[in-house]
C-alpha cells in the first residue's frame, strides 16, 4: 500500500473524514497520471476502459452507471476465451451470425486480440437518447 492510501485510511479510521470523502480521495489517488504512458511507437497506452451511463436531458430516469475496467484485466480475461470448448465455439459463432457478425472464434488468434486491445484507445462511443452512454478508453 502506498503512503498516500495509508494516510487516507488512517484519517478514515480516526474519524477525521467520512467514508464518502475517503472514497473521493482514494479515487483521486488511483486516477491516471497526467502524463500518459507511451508505447514503443509513441502511441498513448490506455489503462482503463470506461462505460458511463447518465440520464439524458429531460429524462425522468435517474439511473447512473460508472464502470472502469483495467486494460490488464481485459487481457487476462480474454485468455480464458482460448478454453471455450469446440462445440461451444460453434454455438457462439451461430449466435454472432444471427446478430449479423460473421465471425469464426477459432480463427481469432491471441495476436488479433492484442491488436484490438492496443487500438481501442482511438475508440469513443457516445449515444445520446433518453440516456447518455459513453464508452471510451483513458
Amino acid at each position: 500500500m502506498n503512503e498516500e492510501k495509508r494516510k487516507v485510511l488512517e484519517m478514515l479510521s480516526q474519524g477525521k473524514i467520512t467514508v464518502e470523502e475517503a472514497d473521493k480521495l482514494l479515487a483521486a489517488i488511483a486516477a491516471p497520471s497526467a502524463e500518459p504512458e507511451l508505447d514503443a511507437a509513441g502511441k498513448r497506452v490506455w489503462k482503463y476502459l470506461r462505460v458511463q451511463v447518465e440520464p439524458g436531458p429531460g429524462s425522468e430516469s435517474s439511473e447512473r452507471v460508472n464502470v472502469r475496467v483495467p486494460r490488464k484485466l481485459i487481457r487476462a480475461g480474454l485468455k480464458f476465451a482460448a478454453f471455450i470448448p469446440q462445440h461451444a465455439q460453434g454455438q457462439v459463432n451461430q449466435a454472432f451470425k444471427e446478430k449479423g457478425f460473421d465471425v469464426d472464434l477459432a480463427k481469432i488468434t491471441p495476436q488479433d486480440l492484442e491488436d484490438i486491445i492496443s487500438n481501442l484507445d482511438d475508440m469513443t462511443v457516445e449515444v445520446d437518447g433518453k440516456e447518455k452512454v459513453r464508452v471510451f478508453c483513458e
Binding site: M1, K5, L9, L26, S61, N66, V67, P70, A76, P85
Partner: protein, 90 residues
C-alpha cells in the same frame, strides 16, 4: 499488483445501506491456502483427464486465476438510481 483493499457500498430503498473498506488481502490469504490444499487433487485430475481435454485447462487454471486477481486493481463498478446504489471498487 494484487488489490489489498475493497470498497463496497450497497443502499436499497427502505433498507439501511452499508459501505465499508474491506482489507481483501485476508480473502487472498485464505484463497491461497485453499488453492494450495487443492493443488495435488487438481494435478491428479489434470493427469487423469489430460487425453480427454480438460486436463490442460486444469493445469492453466491456477496461473490464469492469478492473472485475473493480480489485475483487479482499478476495477470500479458503480450503479445508482434514486433509491438504490451499488459500488464495488478495488
Amino acid at each position: 499488483m494484487l488489490p489489498i483493499m475493497m470498497h463496497l457500498r450497497v443502499r436499497q430503498a427502505g433498507r439501511r445501506g452499508f459501505g465499508f473498506f474491506f482489507p481483501i488481502i485476508i480473502i487472498w490469504i485464505i484463497l491461497a491456502a485453499l488453492l494450495l490444499v487443492l493443488l495435488p487433487f487438481m494435478l491428479l485430475a489434470a493427469i487423469l483427464t489430460w487425453r480427454r481435454g480438460p486436463g490442460r485447462f486444469l493445469v492453466l487454471l491456477y496461473p490464469m486465476l492469478a492473472s485475473i486477481l493480480w489485475n483487479l486493481s482499478g476495477l470500479h463498478v458503480e450503479t445508482k438510481d434514486a433509491e438504490n446504489e451499488f459500488l464495488i471498487s478495488f
